[in-house]
Structure formats: C-alpha cells, structure tokens
Symmetry: C2
Amino acid sequence: MQDSNRKRFSRRSFLQTTAMAGGGLAASSLLAAGQASGAEKGELASGAVILFQGDSITDAGRDKKGGAPNNTQGLGRGYPNLIGGALLADYPDKKLTVYNRGISGNKVPDLAARWQPDAIDLKPNILSILIGVNDIWHKLSGRYDGTVADYETGYRQLLQQTLEKLPGVRLVICEPFVLRCGAVNDDWFPEFDQRRAAANKLAEEFKLDRVPFQTVFDEAVKLAPPEYWAGDGVHPTLAGHSLMAKTWREGGGI
Amino acid sequence: MQDSNRKRFSRRSFLQTTAMAGGGLAASSLLAAGQASGAEKGELASGAVILFQGDSITDAGRDKKGGAPNNTQGLGRGYPNLIGGALLADYPDKKLTVYNRGISGNKVPDLAARWQPDAIDLKPNILSILIGVNDIWHKLSGRYDGTVADYETGYRQLLQQTLEKLPGVRLVICEPFVLRCGAVNDDWFPEFDQRRAAANKLAEEFKLDRVPFQTVFDEAVKLAPPEYWAGDGVHPTLAGHSLMAKTWREGGGI
C-alpha cells in the first residue's frame, strides 16, 4: 500500500493534481470507501460525524470555548475547516457534523488522556488523526523524554482502544510531516523519520487509510520554498493547509 | 450568455458538481481564460494579483489592520480565503498575491469612494466584485435612498473607470444573492431581483465573466434549508462560503 501511495503522489501526479481546483474525481474515493455506520461502499452515511484530532496543526486557532461544529469558529483556520467546508458544500443532504478537537502542543499521551470525551464520546464515523511533531519537538527542547518506541506503543494503544469502542469507525492516519526551514534543523533527523515511519507502520498494521503528507510536501518544495508551505517548518501557511485539505480528499484519506 | 449560464447551473449540473471536491476540470476555465498581464490564454500569469472586493460577505471578518495578503488573517473566513488558499496550493510556482478588500456595510458608492487605493493601486490582474445587498438592505432600513438606477449607474461608472485605468484587468462580476430566511422577507422583492438583474446586465454589457451565485443557491436550497447556507439570509455559513468558492472556480468566473 505504501508503494502505491508513493506512486500516486509522485511528482508527476502532484503536478497533474495541482492543475485541479480541489480534488475532483479522486476526492470521492475517501467517501466512496467510507463504511461508517454500515453505509454501503460508495456512500457517505446520512448523519455521519467527521472528527479531526491532533495538535496545533489541526487546532489551527479554533475557538475551544464557543466553537460549534460545522463552522470556522469551531473548526479553526486550518485543513479541518477547509475539508469540513468542502464536505458540507458537496453533501448538503447528508446532515454531516464536522468536529475539530485538535489541541496545540499535544503529543500521543495527551491524546490518550482526553480520548474518551474528545474522540470516543463524539461517536465519529470518520476519525482523522495527525500526531507526532510535538512528540519529538518537546523532546528536543528538553520538555519530554518519550522515545520513538513510546510513540509507537502509545499510538497503537490509542488505535486499538478506538477500534474496540467504535467498531464501525473509519480511521484515517495522517502522516506527520515537517519542512526544512524555521525551527526544523538537522537535530530532528533521523528521529523524525523514524517517528513518521512508525505512524505509517501502524496504518499498515491496522489496514487504515493513510494520508501521505510528507510525500506531498517533499514534492511541493520543488515548486515553492518550504516557507511558502510552513513558515516555521511545522505550522502550515494558508497554502500549506490548502494543500493538506486537497491531499486529504484526493488521497482518499489514505 | 445568461441562457448558457442557466443551463450550466441547472439542477442536474448542480447535483453533478456537488459530487466533486472543489472544481476539477471546469475550475481551470477561469484561469485558462485569464488574459491578465498579457498572459497567453490558458495560462495564469506569473506574479498575478487577485483581488476580492465587496461588502461583509467578502470581508468575512478579515483583519483590516495587520492582515497581509495570502493568509487567512488578511483574507478572512469567507470565500476569498477558500479560493485564495486553493489557488496558492494549485499554483505554487506562480508567485500569486491574493488580496481581500471587502468592507462590511459597503454599497456601490462606498466602493467608489475608496476605489483608487483599494482596487486600482493594487494593480489586480483578476478583480472579483460582489456588491449589492446593502444597497437595498440599508434602503429598507431607512439609512439610504439609492434607487435601482443609482445602483446600475454607479456600478457602471466603477467598471468603466476600472477598465480605463487597468486595461489588462480581468473583471469578475459576482451576482448578488439572498436566501429566503432570517432578515430577508417579502419586502426585499421585487427590488432585489431588479438589482440582481442590473449586475447581470452590466456583466453582459462589458462582456465580463459572471458568477451566478443566486442560481446556485436557488438550487442548493432544494437540498438543505436556506439557514444551512446563510443563517440570516445574507451572510453565508461555512457551507455557503464553500459553495461560493466552488462556484467561483467551477463557473470559470462567469
């Protein structure tokens, strides 16, 4: 599956897809494959709940007090808002509910600590997770000492627990990514790649869809400098979030 | 041209396009036809400037003090941000600059008063205008007395002035629209439709691209209630702004 992903997001493919507005044909594949709530393949279930989980990249300045689902105040200014908006416009008759529960600074153990109220209790049909940057960043800055193995073990427990409690859920593993600029220097490697590989490995282990963000950004920096996509190498610009949204939908959530 | 637009945005067409992520094939037609800066047909000029002008629907909470182009702070949470982000992700090698200069409460005379600094001086290659709702709303509330003829005359002068000062500009006329809910009651009609017709007439008179928002929202309310698209009948929700962004790109700016 990883090989075919790499193929799908080859430079050629990237250039082709960038000529499109926002997904087109391939966009339907995520939803086509969605089997949430027992929906038939090819259908997005009526009343489906879509939840984005993660750290500051997902949080993206959302209003954690007054923010409701399905609006920008609650979804933030990042990829969950862009994807959520597009889904709400594309499927107005489906009565979708789109939540963002990303929180800045979160690592895997932070997700685990709030998983019941912030993921399980929302009963998502599609649950997209992007986590991993702070697991290494906070370690580099001396605020955390979790290893790559801790990341993998903790992430695996989170996925197991989720699949047990929500047997019909469609999990989407977003590949952690960084760009080589701003706060991201050589100290991040090779450990960042090891953590990225762990996330990809878990997607394969559980046969989950995976969104190959690093692959896409590696291609994107051939067309515009890293700062164009993420000023500090971690937090995407509007261009970066828009590319993420497009990738998430095009890649079929893979 | 209007006939073919109606045909293009028929219910059948709307249902077809809503199954897509955000434009796909047709999306390229706006840019394909862009002849700004002497770019060849089929090309978006390198360094192109795209400007969105209008009232609160365009403003959408943008930061008017610190907001820069090309980011959500400066572009707001509405359709200019969604379109701008998608263009920045789709054309990373074009060095685009995307501005929003919409201001809440604006009518045609307000645009005219600030047109030189807020439109001409920015030297846009593509200039998208959405104006007209306040021209009637403020009249209904007794704060303004401009007629339909005033709207048409003032709008025509604005377009003439723009084409004289920026002979290479590509103007995109966005059709004013309302939904039948919230603040929008029978008092708005038939005058709102007359103003809408005036905007459409000007697009035809000057051979400009037109985005048929009212047509698209008239179809959209067959799939979800008006409040789903615009709570007060005027200001779009995230779903509404996302549908606008998709329409703007799909319709080729027509």
